[in-house]
């Protein structure tokens, strides 16, 4: 069996990126770009929100890490600080940079709350899609009789 670390098989990891590019190029070729004026705003809002929220969740997760390390405060504090910096950056970006706000939201706070709910929706879509893809692939794998690990000696 070729091991996971084999150089020969690493190029297969670019499959998802190629898949993504191909899908978007196909859509672009068939239907054009359409109205994408808010793409950059959506990208920036998604980036700042996902960073702040995931840093906050990871800071909470550090409690379980702290359980096995005599409760050190430094890593928890550092990651909490990261989450806070992310939050402040988001708020400052929305409040003072001006151009990051989506049209439907009037204030920076409304935009932040909208971003968090949108993040929940996107993560739920990715999680359900992941479950479906993993479930289907395991269904295909278990449909076949597993091969014996060692061939019987003749």
């Amino acid at each position: 069996m070729t091991p996971l670390t084999s150089n020969r098989r690493w190029p297969l990891l670019v499959f998802p990126m190629l898949g993504c590019l191909l899908v978007l190029m196909l859509v672009l070729f068939l239907f054009g770009l359409g109205d994408v004026s808010e793409s950059f705003k959506r990208f920036t809002n998604a980036l700042l929100t996902s960073f702040s929220v995931s840093a906050a969740v990871l800071a909470i997760a550090m409690w379980s890490y702290a359980d096995s390390r005599e409760r050190p405060m430094a890593p928890i504090f550092a990651i909490g600080l990261m989450a806070m910096i992310g939050g402040i950056l988001t708020f400052a970006g929305l409040r003072f940079a001006g151009d990051l706000m989506l049209e439907a939201n009037g204030t920076a706070m409304a935009q932040i709350l909208y971003n968090i709910v949108q993040l929940l929706v996107i993560i739920s879509a990715i999680a359900i899609a992941g479950g479906l893809v993993l479930g289907t692939s395991f269904s295909l794998i278990t449909a076949r009789q597993p091969e014996p690990l060692f061939n019987e000696e003749e």
């Binding site: 690493w10 899908v23 994408v36 550090m62 479950g131 479906l132 893809v133 449909a143």
Partner: protein, 276 residues
């Protein structure tokens, strides 16, 4: 005087709405990750049971937030999650039944569960397609705005994750080309579905609208993934730095003759042939 009174009344109503949304939507939303981490961090005692109960209750409160706090715009997210929970359960049950009727080393489900699982899986996907074509989730008398985010994200994610699984099957798996080809067919089916969605008008959504949302959602997915990756990398750096700063553990002294004898006695009593 009347103006001041009406201003104060509307401010009070606004505060009440804000408080309701905070208690019935945002607090449960905060409880979700907090409860999950608490539940996973310890296995013994009552903590996991209590934490999972809190997570379940919080999830239910989010799902029904469109009933409990209809005035809050955020409740549209809860409404969307409730709308897709039916197809999600059907797809999950379908996958579970198909996997556990396959050739697995643990106890299998009865054979008739396999076609039932397949039907359940197809029904789950068809339910979502029908939602797009004829009855998208309606919130405040219009299509739920988050549905226009969720549906293209789901389709794009299935295609991307399928290509990832194909790569993984070919890279890690031994003789898994057949499964990889079938996964390619599965991914292509969803690609066809995505192309149909951005080319066909639904009853309440247009193809053009879906095309714009596909691009916006691509920006969302990219931003979300990059944001999460940056956070994870920072956590990894912080933990590595902290671990490196820890002092080396103390070395223990060599076993004494008495300790060695005790150890040999225990080995002899517990291992087959240990006394010989």
């Amino acid at each position: 005087m009347d103006n001041i009174y009406s201003l104060s009344t509307s401010a009070q109503a606004l505060m009440e709405e804000f408080l309701q949304a905070a208690l019935l939507f945002w607090l449960p939303l905060i409880c979700l990750p907090f409860g999950t981490v608490l539940a996973l961090s310890r296995k013994e005692g009552r903590r996991p049971v209590i934490a999972w109960s809190v997570v379940f209750l919080a999830f239910m409160m989010i799902l029904f937030s469109w009933v409990t706090v209809p005035a809050s715009d955020s409740s549209a997210g809860g409404h969307l999650l409730l709308s897709v929970i039916g197809p999600t359960i059907l797809m999950g049950l379908g996958c579970f039944m198909i996997i556990f009727t396959g050739k697995i080393p643990v106890r299998r489900l009865p054979e008739p569960a396999r076609p039932v699982g397949l039907i359940s899986l197809i029904l789950g996907v068809s339910w979502l397609v029908m939602m797009h074509l004829s009855s998208p989730p309606i919130w405040r008398h219009q299509v739920n705005p988050y549905w226009l985010v969720w549906w293209p994200t789901f389709l794009l994610s299935v295609i991307l994750l399928s290509s990832f699984v194909i790569g993984a099957l070919l890279m890690v798996g031994e003789n898994r080309r057949k499964e990889a080809s079938l996964m390619a067919v599965f991914g292509l089916l969803f690609l066809g579905l995505l192309l149909a969605v951005i080319n066909m008008d639904g009853s309440l959504t247009t193809a053009e609208e879906m095309r714009s949302h596909l691009w916006l959602v691509s920006a969302d997915i990219l931003g979300t993934v990059i944001g999460i990756l940056i956070a994870v990398v920072i956590v990894a750096i912080v933990v590595t730095k902290y671990e490196k700063s820890l002092p080396e553990p103390n070395t223990v002294s060599e076993l004494t003759a008495e300790e060695k004898e005790l150890l040999l006695m225990h080995l002899g009593n517990n291992l087959e042939g240990g006394n010989k």
